[in-house]
Each structure stands twice: as C-alpha cells, then as structure tokens.
C-alpha cells in the first residue's frame, strides 16, 4: 500500500500562536505539514478556555483548544530563558515557516525577530499576525476577538433592527480571529510558492484589523461610492435601504431564511403551485406577481404583501419540510440550524463524511470523538487530522530526535524549568 500523499508534506512549521493565529497551524497540519507548537511550560492560555470535556478545567481537556489545534506537536519551552532561546533558534534553523501572534516587538526583544532568524535560515517564511500591524499609531493597542470585530466594522453590520435598544451583535465563534488566521495563512502559502522558485523566505506583517476591515462586503463600497451608510437588519444583509425580513418561524419553532422570492419565474410559479395545492396561496397566482418574478423585484409594497402570505405558509410547516421543498424548487432557502444539527444531516454526515472520528487514545484504546472535518476535498492529497497534542507531549522527542540533545542535557533543562513534558511522558520513558 502506498502512503497517502499530503499537499504540504515535508513542510515544517513552528507555531508560536494563541487564539489569533492557531487556526493557521491547524489548517496546514491537517493538510500534511508538520506543526511544532512552541508553548510556555505551563501551556498556552487557550488550553484554559471552555468548554471542557466533562467540564474539567484541565489543560488537556479544553474542547476549544482541541478544535483549533489538531495535527500539531507540542514543544513546551520557556523561550525567555537563555537555553529556551537557543532551542528555538536551533529548530528555526531548519524550519520552513514560523507563525506567531505576539504583540509587535516581543520576539525581537528576545533576540528572536525575523532579522535574527532569517540570518540563520534565509529560506524562512515568517508570519506575524497581530491586532493592528507592526507599525502605525495603533501598533501597540491591545486587541481581542470582539475588538477586531468592532474596529473592523463587522459588528456595525450585525444585530437587530426590530428589537429596540439592542447593540450591534458580535457574531460569536471567534470569527475576528478566524478571519485574521485565514489571511495570515493565505499570505504564508503565497510566500512558500515564491520560495519554491527563488529559495528566498520573507516576512509577512498581517493584522486582524485590516483583515476584518476587508471582510464587510458592500459596507465600504456603499459609503465610498454613494456616501450612504448601511445599517443592521435582523438576520440578513445590512442595507442602505430597508429590505423584507428573511427569518421566518416554522411550526417546530425553528427559523428558516426565506429570500429571493422573485428571483426566478419558474421557481415562483412552482412555489405558488405548492401553496395552491395546500390551499394557502391566496391571490399569489395573480399576474402582477409573475411580473415581479420576471423583473426580479427586490423590494416593494407588493413584495412585502407576498412575503406575508409566504410567511404564513412557512409557519404551517416544519423547517425541514420548507427547506427540502423549497430547495427542490431551486430556492436557496436554508434552515437556521444549531451546529450539532448537521450531525443528523445525511448529506454532510454520511455522504460527505463531514464529521470524522479522531482517535483519543489518552482516554483508552479505541476511544474516538467526532469532529467538524475538512473544509475542502482534495482529490489527490486528502485532509487528515490527528488530535491536539497534550501539553509538552513532544518536547522530549523533538529535543532528542530533531536536535540530538542528550538525555542528561534534557534532564537539566527539565530541572531548571526551561522545558516541560506531559504527565506520563518522562525522559526515562
């Protein structure tokens, strides 16, 4: 049997990342790169972010950490110590990529900036992913997920228009960090492609603020071209003018997104036929609505009127009935699902294997858990993930096998607290 090929096999990445950047490492690791997560001897802060398995707040039990750190090795070392710095330099000398999300200036203050590391390894691609960038008046401002989403303009577009006195709502799920990571990775990969032809590494200075700022669809163009400011509308697109509400309640107390009612004449006629068969079409068969479908009417009083009738029809059915029925008529409507509800959807769960089992042998032989899986299917070099590393799980093997440190040297580092190893993994094992 031939080994499974990986898109990024042979690429070694040092990851010195917390919440802003850890997704970059995961996405590269799941496609075959070797990711060495360099973390403090007590672990990165994300190991103590909930939820936890069995609600046990232990550094190896964070499900948030698990989700963002698959396919990595953990090397726990105090990079502020002299020996720790040497360890980092030694590994960086033969690595392909270093990704980090510390405050600007932190690594250079340890003598571990790009100039230093690049002098040891001219082919090194180094990506710094910060809140606001390496220069400029906000360089030293502190950031976080919600700060990125606020400053980048995303929150301004998200929230309610029909619930009084409510603030803009941050889309939850770490998306300020995720957008930053996606762009950091996009830049990193482009630099690796450049290196394939030139042998030269480079430095990438990416920021969450700019990344979020360029991820707001029509918000900036609407202002730049028309000097109009979009406002937030419940569960649907921001707009410079109000649009019909798209969230419709179903008989099983869920919601479904109902939109583009008049975007396609055939779909409209089929919908009216379906509603007529159930005696709920009222006067939607009238010619004036067909005209609207022919002209792709977006907003009008007539459209609002039709919407109300459709809304009553939706309310008399379950979300699944409307979702399946409308999709069969080519309406792009979708149920507002809770994430776990996709585990029951046969298309994703069975046909597309979107929730693969990943082994967790630390809880016993054969123990596995289902994860949200691959965001893309590569025909030749498939996605494949292993569980997140325990704290310090690979410290010993990396120092010993990659750097050739003697057992005595490793013991000394352990005694001094320069490195740590996961419980159950000692130098004698």
């Amino acid at each position: 049997m031939t080994a499974v090929k990986s898109a990024l096999s042979g690429i070694t990445v040092l990851e010195l990342c917390g919440e802003r950047g850890h997704l970059m490492g995961k996405l590269m690791g799941d496609m075959g790169a070797r990711i060495i997560k360099v973390e403090p001897t007590s672990g990165v802060a994300e190991r103590l972010v909930g939820p936890y398995k069995d609600d046990d707040p232990h550094h190896d039990m964070s499900l948030y950490f698990w989700a963002h750190n698959t396919s990595k090795q953990s090397l726990s070392v105090d990079i502020e110590s002299k020996e720790g710095k040497n360890i980092l330099k030694d590994i960086a000398s033969s690595a392909d990529v270093l990704i980090e999300d510390f405050s600007p200036g932190y690594l250079p203050s340890l003598g571990l900036g790009f100039e230093m590391l690049s002098s040891l390894n001219p082919g090194l691609v180094m990506t710094s992913l910060t809140g606001f960038g390496q220069d400029g008046p906000y360089r030293d401002y502190k950031s976080s997920d919600i700060v990125s989403l606020a400053m980048g303009g995303i929150m301004h577009s998200c929230g309610y228009d029909d619930v009084p006195n409510t603030p803009p709502i941050r889309p939850s799920g770490d998306h300020g960090n995720k957008i930053a990571s996606h762009y950091g990775l996009i830049g990193t990969l482009s630099a690796l492609i450049h290196r394939d032809f030139t042998g030269k590494g480079q430095y990438i200075d990416a920021s969450a603020h700019e990344a979020c700022s360029s991820t707001t669809e029509a918000a900036l163009p609407t202002y730049l071209y028309q000097e109009k400011v979009v406002f937030r509308q419940t569960g649907r697109h921001h707009g410079a003018v109000p649009t019909p509400k798209t969230l419709c309640k179903t008989s099983d107390n869920k919601y479904i997104i109902v939109f583009q009612l008049f975007n396609n004449l055939n779909s409209w006629l089929s919908l009216v036929k379906w509603m007529t068969a159930e005696g709920m079409a009222e006067d939607l068969g009238d010619e004036r609505f067909k005209e609207m479908a022919r002209h792709r009417t977006r907003t009008s009083e007539e459209a609002d009127y039709a919407f109300e009738i459709v809304r009553k029809f939706v309310a008399a059915h379950t979300a699944e009935e409307i979702y399946r029925g409308a999709q069969a008529l080519k309406f792009p409507w979708g149920t507002v699902r809770s994430p776990e509800e996709n585990l029951e959807d046969p298309h994703f769960a069975i046909d597309r294997d979107m929730f693969p089992n990943i082994e967790h042998s630390e809880f016993g032989d054969g123990v596995t858990f289902r994860y949200a899986g691959t965001p893309y299917k590569f025909s030749s070099t498939p996605w494949s993930a292993t569980r997140a590393p325990l704290l310090g799980e690979h410290t010993f093997s990396i120092l010993s096998n990659d750097l050739g440190y003697s057992k005595a040297k490793i013991d000394t580092l352990l005694d001094r607290g320069t490195i740590s190893v996961s419980k159950g993994f000692t130098c004698n094992s």
Partner: protein, 418 residues
Amino acid sequence: MKPTDLPPLNRQNALEGVRVIDFTWIVAGPQCTRILGDFGAEVIKIESESNMDYTRGIPPVMGADSPNKSGLFNTLNRNKRSLTLNVMHPRGMEMLKDLISVSDVIVENFSSRVLEKWGLGYEEQKKIRPDIVYCSMSGFGHSGRDRDHVTWGPTAQALSGLTFMSGLPGQESAGWGFSYMDHSGGFYGAIAIQMALLHRNRTGEGQHLDLSQVEAGIGMTGTAVLDYTVNGRAFRRDGMPPGNRSPDRAIAPHNSYRCKGDDRWCVISVTCEEEWQALIRAMNNPEWSTDSKFSDMLSRYKNQNELDKNIESWTTLRTPHEVLEIFQNAGVPAGAVQTPPDRADIDPQLKHRRFLPEIEHAELGTTRVESIPMKMSETPWKLKRPSPLFGEHSPEIYTELLGVEEEELGKFYEEGIA
C-alpha cells in the same frame, strides 16, 4: 507559461506566471480570485452577454446605463482581465479548450453540475491539461444526495450553524449582516488552490478541489460540535447564543456599551486582573468598583449585569473613539464599533497602513478599493488595474494568447462567440 519557465530573478509576485481561468461570479468566487490576482496571478474572468456577473448590477451601482458601474464589482474584481466567451457556441468551446491547455487553474462557483454538462468535468480538463488545478466552489459539494441544493451566502450561514450562534439569548438570531460565507468561501478557495500549487510544484500533479460553502462554515463550528459529540451539550439551549459576552472564557467585563451619539457603541474585553485595574484607573476609580461584588474575575463574571450598567454609565458620556483612546492608552483591550465612514475617513491606523489605495476606473473615475490585508517583504501585493470593463480584454486575449487572427475576431463578435 508555467511558473517554472520564469527565471527566479525576474519574479516579483508570489503567483507570477500562474494563469487562472475564472468562471466565478457574485461574491464568493470573485473573493477567491481577487486574492490570486493581488498576488500576481494572471486572472482571466470569463463572462458572456447572457451570463454576465450578477454583481455588475448589485448596489452600489452608479448608473444603470452600463455593466461597469458597480462599486462592489470594482472592489471584488480589480487585478483581473475580462474575456467574453460563449461556451454554448462550438467555436467558443474550442477557444475555451485552447485556453485550458495554457492555464494552471480553473475556478468556478456554479451549481454543482454545470461544468459536467459542458463536457468539462475534471476528467475532461485533465485530458487537455494533465496538471490542471480545478477548484469548484459549490454550495454542497460535487458529491452526495443534496449536491443539487443551491446556496447564497445567507443560506450557507444558516445551515452551517453560524447564523444561529449569533444573537441575544431569548431572541431570534441576529446572524451575519452580510455574506460572510462568501468571503470565507473565497478564503478557503484561495487557501486550497495555493496548497494544490505547492503540491504541483513538488510533484507535477494537479487535482480537483471540491469545496462546499456550507462545509466551510461547518468547519468553523468545531468547538460547538465537540461540545455535543464529547459532552452531549447542544448549542441550542437556554442562555445561548451569548450576545456580546464571553461564557467560554468566563471573563468580564466583556460586552458592547452605549456611547455618546446616535446608535454609537464601544466594546471592552478585560481578560485579567491587570487589565481590570487599568480599566478602573482609567475611569478614575469610581466608587462602585470597590464593591466586593467586583473584587475578582469570578465575582465580576457573576455580577456582570450590574457591572455592565456601571461601565455604561461612564461610556455613554463619551464617543466611541474617546473610549478607545482612553482605555487603550491605559492598556485595556477596547474598541469603537466603527462605521464605514469611520474606517474610510477617520481611522488613522488604516490610513497609515494604506488600506484604501486609489485607482482610476474608466467609468467610475477615481476609486478606492480595500487592500489585501498584509504587508509582505519580498512580494508585496500590487494594485495593477481596476476591475475590467465587460469584455475589455477580449481582443488581446484572443489574438495574443490564443492566436486568433484579427479577421476571425470580427466574426467572433458577429456570431456571438465573443
């Protein structure tokens, strides 16, 4: 020309020499190819009279007299060239096959059977160009029982769980105020294509990248999925979604706060004792802050309704940018909820980073477009051209790249091939 044909010293762009056939439209696909174009790939955007990019008509449109006046289209399609080609005409199909033979990447975000119907599925593409990288960006992917379902950004956000995860507890979903999954779907397209190019550089092998917009969204719900598969805890439960608070980290204050002005807001996220001390110092040590209810992180977290009211009584007297400055100068993670005018005209950081560079557009005049959000020391992105006018580059692509004679080119227009 393949990338390998270029002498290394002449390479100034990361994706120099990579030719991309771009069948994408609306937002998700163009977001993907915009990134490739920004890095120097040669992106050829293919449209036809009957299948024009829908975004050419999406607001803000500065005049209905032309397909070249949408501001959204301009920002999404800069650095691309436009080719009109009718694939339904046999000669058009021949031209497309010629183009495939000299290209590296094909990207499309049609529904899942369109290229197969044209007789141009991946297997056929490979016969023309064995190492082609083919990226399809459909809603549900190219396999499975629901592959024919159609999605727009909001559909993918709803089905994947992202819409549900955003909102105030006890209210319907606030969701996303734009097509986030069009942006993110585009990011995943650009990530996948570059990974495939790295693999091709090493092995000479191309492949099919089958992307699903919903699955890209599901991939971003990893923590919630694990909470269910490991702990049996559903996200659909009382008290969820969490609004602007932070239940998973159990930190407070972490919220949005009303500021001076009409519908103006700021955010604060305090993660540790040091930042808390800095916060109350910056507010001149208000009396309430000494209350034992706020003595440590856990008590602040438990009493955050009262905590938030106290903080808001301070922020309502100040503008979001005053709050930003006062707190950030004290070392507290805080931000203004910035409006589009804030970002375009006020934000000194975005100005310093040249976030909105200018470029001349033949019909829109001087325009400002969002930059790719990073600085690169060796291969900085370049804003080489504005979005293309419809069919602007057809003559040069047909004659220079595909070897069509001037005479035949005239016929292409007469017969509806170009």
